[in-house]
Amino acid sequence: MSLEHFIQNAISEWMRVKGPQSDIVFSSRVRIARNLDGLPFPLLSTQSQAEEVVRRVEEAWKNDKDRLAVLKDAELIRMSDLTDLEKRVLVEKHLISPMLAEESRHGAVLLSQDESVSIMINEEDHIRIQVLFPGLQLEKAWELASQIDNWLEKHLTYAFEGGYGYLTSCPTNVGTGIRASVMVHLPALAMTQQLNRLIPAITQVGLAVRGIYGEGSEALGQLYQVSNQVTLGQSEEEILDNLQGVVRQMIEHEQIARRRLQEMSLTQLEDRVHRSYGILAHARIIDSNEAMKRLSDVRLGVDMGLILGVSANVMNELMVMTQPGFLQSYANQRLNPEQRDIRRARLIRERLAMEQTKEQ
């Protein structure tokens, strides 16, 4: 399969389309947790109870899919029908959680055609509605998630209690069951060493910040996920407003840091982003740590107008496509880490070359 063809099949819309504020915010996600009344949570459900949950959701969708345009051409995928590699690719695209892929026994996902909506079944809760949009679009994502929620509720009775709200398996999700998150790219704040001050401040207002790739404190590719922690005692709108307000401030700080870098050390910055571009365009072996770092640099260069002729979303694409699952699915075979590093370098070279031929 040609790379171009592979990308067309492999890339979700959130990676392809430019959203608002997309020079800093890559994507917005809203996920709401729901459980069905009268059935134990997936943690304790028997095979037949878990199957029952899948059946009920499937029935609701089959009988009434015309009412929600976004789900009309959706597909119900059972985890048991997928290979490990296929599941891994869905995780790398952020369409399902690692938990659904690895732990659930009757896990399934109802996935919309454009991959903006995934309804996970039998994850930690019976139902998790996820909406993923490019750029900063929290309100729109919540609107759609809430619509889907209303539509599901017409067919299913939720576990809900006046005082506690929507009941969830983990008490950290109870109440609204909402987890809203934004994926932000903060290279300039990282370069100017301001993140160590910013992150503690953010956690103090009830939000969580964590690196998207990499483990521990070091976030590979300077990509961070900011999300709400509180789900109870505030309305969905308040939760989203709070998150949105903080994200706007982060955007502002990142923009100031970028401007300052441009004013104070333009040559060093240019050297850094072009050097990274050179490595990506010519390397024959590259591990995922280095790839993420270089991709982040090039993305910054593109967003600041220092690198021309490469579109910004190519970096989003490559950050996902150079993950192990994608590499192996493109290669159509299992690869050991050394083989992956070689394939990764080749895929990046080919992808950047595609951009150049587009230019001419």
Binding site: F41, L44, E102, Y158, I239
Partner: protein, 169 residues
């Protein structure tokens, strides 16, 4: 998921073992895992948050409470408070009622609140409204009986009956 080994306790340990190049997934409860003497590579994976939460739970209970014989158990799903404090997750919606007393302080610690203020499902909305109406009618009925307006009282009684029927549906 229930532990496939004993079929009783929730499987809280999930891991993959590679034997002769064959990948096998294991799901066990803590008791069975201990009995089988399984060493768990990757045990930390995905558990930090729940362990953090259970740290919170342990911190919550006083030493006396921790030594008290554990009897608090959800009648619907069988989960004990002890199990909950280990895995940080409930087994069913009724657990919220069963563990209410211990839960509220925990919720306040995690969320700063213990009462829901967000969206309400349409169905529950209707039900809440009916319940409120019902209470009001009952109060009126009592008043009419008090003042011996029996014709009115009979009318109210019929109304209450039909509302109750609607609620039971």
């Amino acid at each position: 998921m229930l532990c496939p080994e004993c079929g009783k306790r929730p499987a809280t340990l999930h891991y993959t073992k590679i034997v002769n190049g064959e990948k096998t997934e294991f799901h066990l409860c803590e008791v069975c895992a201990q009995e089988k003497g399984e060493v768990m590579p990757g045990f930390e994976h995905g558990f930090s948050f729940h362990q953090l939460l259970s740290g919170l739970l342990n911190f919550n209970s006083s030493p006396q409470e921790a030594y008290k014989p554990q009897t608090l158990r959800c009648n619907t799903c069988g989960l004990t408070y002890n199990q909950f404090s280990k895995i940080g997750r409930f087994g069913c919606g009724d657990c919220y009622k069963t563990f209410r007393e211990r839960l509220d302080p925990l919720l306040r610690r995690v969320h700063g609140h213990s009462t829901h203020r967000g969206k309400i499902p349409e169905r529950a909305q209707g039900e809440l409204k009916l319940k409120k109406e019902l209470e009001q009618l009952k109060a009126e009925l009592a008043a009419k009986i008090e003042t011996e307006e029996f014709e009115e009282a009979a009318r109210l009684r019929d109304q209450i009956r039909s509302l109750q029927e609607q609620l039971e549906k």
